[in-house]
Amino acid sequence: MAGEARVADVPLRVRVQEADFDPGAELTALTAGRTDVGGIGCFVGTVRDAAGGRALAALILEHYPAMTQRALEDIAREAVRRWDLQGVTVIHRVGRMAPGARIVLVAATAAHRAAALEATAFLIDWLKTRAPFWKKEEFADGGAQWVAARADDDTAAARWE
């Protein structure tokens, strides 16, 4: 565990938004104006065009607005406590998205690649089990269903406990 003073010094960029985001701009922002970064880890989640063999028309992301920002900031701060990071970005979209659309971006910078890569995996694993978002699938055949939580998401998150 690093001191809270160091944690507070690491810039966190955390946003919840309906609009799409630009992964290139986000990666650039993480390194802008500094030359001490050794590596950037990044994961971008996108909407797949099918689920359970049914063609998807759209994915609806519902969230708990009063809680979401804080939950994402908590996750970002936890990553900074666990790894020696130089910056963290977490962006999650809400609303209606078409297949192929970007949903989420997590990224972390560090002097050494292992910290950046592990923190990236941690951020998306914890986000999937600890941030108040819910996905609803609307299918091309007219049906719709709420996505069930996946046991392997819990397994992935449990790696970090």
Binding site: G45, L61, E62, H63, Y64, A66, M67, R70, A71, H92, I103, V104, I124, L127, K128, T129, R130, A131, P132, F133, W134, K135, K136, W146, V147, A148, A149, R150, D153
Partner: protein
Amino acid sequence: MMDGARPVRLLWFAWLRERLGCGEEELTLPGDVTTVATLVAHLAARGPVYAEALAARMQVRCAVNQEFATPETAVHPGDEVAFFPPVTGG
């Protein structure tokens, strides 16, 4: 307490919101409701739709004042209490 009459704000999300036909409501806490567990019991007594939705305990999560809660978490007048399925973002 002077604020004993202040209602809690109840929020319902995802399939809970759809099944109960309600996303947000106010509720004045009965005197015997002091925790998430006793609040759930009170809400389940509203009728079979609530009872069934809340009976799936493994499938319902709760946050009090925007923090994940357990059955033992205290609920006070004026709190915001949200019920929702396990999260599926990312």
